[in-house]
Structure formats: structure tokens, C-alpha cells
């Protein structure tokens, strides 16, 4: 198997909430011991509901946050400690596409200035060629060259997201963190953006970390998928396997909650509706994060964090699969 291009090991990202005069200092454990690997040219999908820490992890990978502990290695180099020149070099390779196409483009800059900016910063291409490169990038993402003098607010959401992608591509990155790039877009536009990202991957061999809460689109684009819950990665597996046969009770509930665009099957489908809400990530108890909502929770789930183990070629962090070799299929909720 090829060596991973990105390797995250036991990564924690914690934020301190400053205590007031009468309140104790609290810690938001946004990412709590996550390990994952992304191979060159593949797409790793990271799914989970809001507040599960998936975006925080993505931001730690592009060096917007510094992990509290653990390592993030890009091509074997630990990037958490990179500074100055080396950090700049890393930024050329690893880029990010943002969620909100309305907020991620500077409203006071023209399209041309926006897409040029990364080239200006890193002094790529001779000055005179940059304009031509901007036009080329615009065409890559399916926009017209005469849009170049317009301002972001004149575009629709999908068009803006494509401008954002063009800006990201300006640096010829090898790895792109896509932070919910389609969740703010309309259905017909989502498919456009997904196809665009896939085309770019095919053409340029870029690897993606694709963060989203829309499970059907993630399945479509990803080779491997990791499911996050409350700062923990509860299950990792090849995307088709994971969807066909989810192991972790949370994955099962999550997949069952996804509405399917087929009225007959929707009527017949047996759905697991998870009760309750996601607990707060402020000073979580040292137990299975999902224990409070899990339909199969056992006593020990409330006592310790289940370690991640290999089951059927997948990684699952759940006590159900821990001992005695109970076959995964027996436990699956049907």
C-alpha cells in the first residue's frame, strides 16, 4: 500500500475558555485523540454533526490552529512545528476550500484580485503572466473570462464557490482540505461543485480531506470515510463498506437518519431515530462520547473511552466489538 500523504496521530485540539472571577476555567475538547491517514490521490471524507470537531481538525491541518498534543505529518514531516519559510512552503502544498461562499471572498476585491492574491503572496509566475493564469483558472472552474472585473456579491452562491476553488488552485496544491464546500449550496449546484472537484482530482492528482455533514455526497466523493462524534473518530472504513454495513451504533443511527430521495423506499424503510441531542464538548466525561444516546449502551461505556480496534478491515471505537469476537453482523441493528 502506498504511504499516506497525510498522517494524523492522536491529535488533540483543546481550547480554554477563560474562567471568570467565580467560574472555573473550562476546556472545550474540540478534537480529542484523532488518528487518520490520507493516501495520495484519494479522498478522505470526514462526517459528523455540528460541533463534532471535524472543522477544527481540518483547520489544524492547514495550520490555522495548533494541536494541543499529537502530531500531524505531511509527507513524513511534522507540520505543527513549522515556522517561517518552511511554513510558507507547506502552505503552497496544502490549501483549503471554505464553507460559506459569501464570507470566504473579500467583498472589496474583484475576482481577478482574489484569484491573483495567492500568486502575489508567493510570487509565483512572472507578474505579467498572472492575469493570463487567472483567466485560465476561471475557465477551469467554468466561469467566463469577462467576469474578471466583477465583485463577489454580483455572483450566485455556486459561482462564488467556484471562484474560491479557482483561488485555491492558483497555488497548484497537492492536498486540499474541503471544509463543507457544498453545504451552503443548492442541490443542482452541489453536484456541479462535486463533479468539478472530482475532475480536478483526476487531472491534477490532488488529495482531498472532504469535510461535510451531507452523508450522501460524502459517500459519492470519498474513498475512505471517518465518522466523528464529539471530538472522537468513532469509525473509519472504505466508504462503500461503511455505508452498506455500519458498525458503530452512531454510524448506524446517522445513516438511518439520512433522508433518501425515493418515496417508496422511504415509506418502507425502518429508521433508527436517535433520541436526545449532542452533549457539549466542554469538559466531557472520560467515557464513550456516544454513551448518553446509544441504544446499546452498556455499563462500561460510561466508565472508559473505548479504544479503536480493527473489525472487518475497519476501525471502530466501540465496546460492542471489543471482546469475545462477537461477529459484527450479529450486533448490527436491523
Amino acid at each position: 500500500m502506498t504511504e499516506p500523504i497525510l498522517q494524523v496521530d492522536n491529535c488533540h485540539v483543546w481550547f480554554d475558555i477563560k474562567g471568570g472571577l467565580f467560574t472555573k476555567k473550562q476546556t472545550v475538547k474540540a478534537v480529542n485523540g484523532v488518528s487518520l491517514q490520507v493516501r495520495a490521490g484519494e479522498t478522505f471524507g470526514l462526517v459528523g454533526e455540528s460541533g463534532c470537531g471535524k472543522s477544527t481538525l481540518g483547520r489544524a491541518i492547514v495550520k490555522l490552529y495548533r494541536p494541543t498534543s499529537g502530531t500531524i505529518r505531511y509527507k513524513r514531516q511534522d507540520i505543527t512545528a513549522l515556522k517561517g519559510e518552511q511554513a510558507q512552503e507547506y502552505r503552497k502544498h496544502v490549501q483549503m476550500i471554505f464553507q460559506d461562499p459569501y464570507a470566504s471572498l473579500d467583498p472589496r476585491m474583484t475576482v481577478s484580485e482574489i484569484i491573483r492574491e495567492p500568486m502575489d503572496i508567493h510570487d509565483l509566475y512572472p507578474r505579467r503572466e498572472r492575469e493570463a493564469r487567472v483567466v485560465e483558472l476561471l475557465q477551469t472552474v467554468g466561469l467566463k473570462p469577462d467576469h474578471i472585473r466583477r465583485y463577489p456579491h454580483e455572483f450566485s452562491g455556486g459561482q462564488r464557490q467556484r471562484i474560491g476553488i479557482a483561488r485555491t488552485l492558483a497555488l497548484d496544491p497537492e492536498f486540499i482540505v474541503c471544509d463543507e464546500p457544498i453545504s451552503a449550496l443548492d442541490v443542482s449546484i452541489q453536484a456541479q461543485v462535486i463533479n468539478l472537484l472530482e475532475d480536478i482530482q483526476k487531472k491534477l492528482g490532488i488529495s482531498y480531506l472532504f469535510i461535510a455533514h451531507d452523508l450522501s455526497m460524502v459517500k459519492h466523493i470519498s474513498d475512505h470515510i471517518g465518522v466523528m462524534y464529539l471530538g472522537h473518530l468513532v469509525e473509519i472504513g472504505p466508504s462503500r463498506e461503511l455505508y452498506r454495513h455500519p458498525l458503530h451504533p452512531y454510524t448506524q443511527g446517522l445513516l438511518s437518519a439520512v433522508p433518501i430521495p425515493d418515496p417508496k423506499r422511504a415509506r418502507e424503510r425502518h429508521r433508527i431515530v436517535l433520541d436526545g441531542e449532542i452533549p457539549t464538548p466542554i469538559d466531557p466525561k472520560p467515557c464513550c462520547p456516544f454513551a448518553t444516546r446509544c441504544p446499546k449502551a452498556m455499563e462500561k461505556c460510561f466508565c472508559a473511552v473505548p479504544p479503536s480496534i480493527q473489525v472487518d478491515g475497519r476501525q471502530v471505537a466501540c465496546f460492542l466489538y471489543q471482546e469475545g469476537g462477537r461477529a459484527a453482523s450479529e450486533i448490527n441493528i436491523k
Binding site: Q159, S188, S216, H220, R240, S256, V258, P259, I260, V273
Partner: protein, 333 residues
């Protein structure tokens, strides 16, 4: 008899760039006890249609044409003669016969008032119940929408509830006066998948127990497939196709509907069929095309589509579609 009938509704917004024709000649009806899904992309006019019906348009928007009937009672400004009379009438109807559920519950809840006070408000406004009776009714509503330990929680403030719980409270407020029609504008868009499933289940239960009609505005075809009896697809300020859920999903006629279905993937299917996105961007309603609004993105567009709006083709009592392909000598498909 239809609960709601909308005929030739057109709504425009005045902006400094010109007039935006947000809704153009929209007609549809909602039968008693059914859930109508109004599907469309942002800017297709689906929310504006509902705001026009409720008389809640912002200052620069106005209904330029069309009529709205609730139980055969004409609720158009023209039927009342003046804006003032219309507004007076609508105040007795909103929250009473017609209720609305919004996407973002926090904009609808007053952060400094207890839930109890806010729940009692529509009850006291529209019924003759006493304070104590209204309070009892409020508690009953809290139970109905599945909020745990309602006696305690009814005394709390909105910020003490999570997003999903707030949405339940909004639903409780909408139910306060047993409305005949509930308009839910993207009620689950802001929620997480597992919470969305909870809220959708709740809406389904309510429909069954109350026999209210529901208009569900959404862009999520999965949500529609799961909850709606009938579906109307909107594009560029017009309704392009209507039909029962089965007709829309299994026998789509309009190229836009087909396109939309090609844009979604089934999370349960084993094959990874490629997505077939609709190219281009939605039309700019500042200068909508003279002909079919879908013209520029339609792979099957014809010369006639450019200049003439297609008429309605009726396939069954429930299934209609507006596309010139159907007029092309029966070879439509």
C-alpha cells in the same frame, strides 16, 4: 374542497438595480390533510410565495397580481380594498388558521420572555380561553411536541434550549390554535441530520393527529420523498411541474425535475452512479428570460423555448408540467 388555493400570484421587489420578479404567475392548491412539498433552489421564489400568502412581505415587495383563497375566502389585498383592512384581517388569520414555521427558530423567539409566555400569546390572541386555561393548553402543546419534563422547561428561556428543541417550540406555537394550514419554511435546514430526523418524524405525527394541511418548503429531495404527498417544483419564479411524490420521483417530465433528480445520490445504493449536474446558474430574476426560465441550463432547449413560455400539459389529475417538449408531436419523454 381545497384548504388553500392560489391563483396567478405574482410578486415583485423594487431594488435599486431594478424590479426583481420573484414570483411570476404561480397557481396551486392544497387539499385538506395533505403535505405539499414546494421544492426549489434559493431564489426560485418558494419562500416569497409563502410570504405573499401570509401577507408578510418586506417593505419593498408587493403582490402585483393574483388571488389567494383560504377555504374559498378571498384573502387578496384587492378583496379588502385597502392595505389596512387586509392587514387587520390577516392578523386574525396568522397564527390561527394559518401558522408558519421558520428556518431559524431564534429569530422567532423573544430571548427575554419565558417559553410559557410566548406559547400563551397566540392562544390568548385568537381564543377566549382564560389565563389558566391557556397555560394548561401551553403545557399540553409542550408535551405534544415531545419536550421532556415540560412542567419545568416551560418556565425556561429560549437560550436554555438547543436548536432542535427550539424548533419543537416553534412547532408548538404553530399548533397553538389548531391551524388548518401550517407553512413550514425549510424547518430542518439548520439542523443536524439526526435532529432533522426527529423533527420530520414530529411533523409527520402532527399531520396524522391533527389533520392539518402542511406546505413544506425545502430544497432537500430526500426530505420531500420522505414526508410529502404532493410536490410542486419551482424554478425561476414559476411552478414548472406538480405531481404526487411517486409521479415526480418515478415519472418526472420537466427537464429541470429530471436534472434535480440526477443531482442527488442515494446513500443506500451500492453502485456509485456518476452525478449529472445541471450546468450553469439559476436565472437572474432582474431580467428573467421571456420564454422558459430553464432555457439556459436545459440540455434539450429548443428555439421556441427562448421566446415563449410553455403552457401546462396535464398528464393526470395530479400531474402537470410546463415544457415545450410535450408539444413536440407526442415524442416527449
Amino acid at each position: 374542497m381545497s384548504v388553500l388555493r392560489v391563483e396567478h400570484l405574482s410578486t415583485q421587489f423594487a431594488t435599486d438595480q431594478g424590479t426583481v420578479q420573484a414570483v411570476r404567475d404561480v397557481s396551486f392548491s392544497v387539499e385538506a390533510g395533505e403535505v405539499l412539498g414546494l421544492v426549489g433552489e434559493s431564489g426560485s421564489g418558494k419562500s416569497v410565495t409563502m410570504f405573499s400568502i401570509m401577507g408578510l412581505l418586506p417593505g419593498n415587495g408587493h403582490v402585483v397580481d393574483g388571488r389567494v383563497f383560504l377555504n374559498d375566502e378571498d384573502l387578496s389585498v384587492s378583496a379588502f380594498g385597502s392595505e389596512k383592512e387586509y392587514e387587520k384581517k390577516m392578523q386574525t388569520i396568522r397564527g390561527n388558521q394559518m401558522a408558519m414555521i421558520f428556518q431559524d427558530p431564534m429569530t422567532f423567539l423573544n430571548p427575554v420572555l419565558r417559553i410559557e409566555t410566548q406559547l400563551m400569546e397566540p392562544i390568548r390572541n385568537h381564543t377566549k380561553l382564560s389565563r389558566a386555561e391557556a397555560a394548561a393548553r401551553a403545557l399540553e402543546l409542550m408535551e405534544k411536541v415531545g419536550i421532556p419534563s415540560p412542567e419545568k422547561r416551560i418556565k425556561q428561556y429560549p437560550h436554555q434550549f438547543s436548536g432542535g428543541m427550539r424548533q419543537r417550540i416553534i412547532i408548538a406555537m404553530a399548533l397553538a390554535c389548531d391551524p388548518q394550514l401550517i407553512i413550514a419554511d425549510e424547518p430542518t435546514t439548520a439542523l443536524d441530520v439526526t435532529i432533522q430526523a426527529q423533527v420530520l418524524e414530529l411533523i409527520g405525527q402532527i399531520k396524522d393527529s391533527l389533520r392539518s394541511s402542511v406546505i413544506l418548503i425545502t430544497h432537500d429531495l430526500g426530505v420531500v420523498a420522505q414526508t410529502c404527498d404532493r410536490i410542486a417544483i419551482m424554478y425561476g419564479g414559476k411552478i414548472v411541474e406538480t405531481g404526487t411524490a411517486d409521479e415526480i420521483f418515478y415519472m418526472p417530465n420537466h427537464p429541470y425535475t429530471k436534472g434535480l433528480l440526477g443531482c442527488v445520490t442515494d446513500p443506500e445504493s451500492d453502485t456509485n452512479e456518476p452525478l449529472t449536474p445541471i450546468p450553469g446558474s439559476p436565472p437572474d430574476l432582474l431580467k428573467p428570460p421571456a420564454g422558459c426560465p430553464f432555457l439556459d441550463r436545459c440540455t434539450q432547449a429548443m428555439n421556441i423555448c427562448r421566446d415563449y413560455m410553455p403552457g401546462q400539459t396535464v398528464f393526470s389529475p395530479t400531474h402537470t408540467s410546463c415544457c415545450w417538449l410535450n408539444a413536440r408531436g407526442g415524442e416527449a419523454g
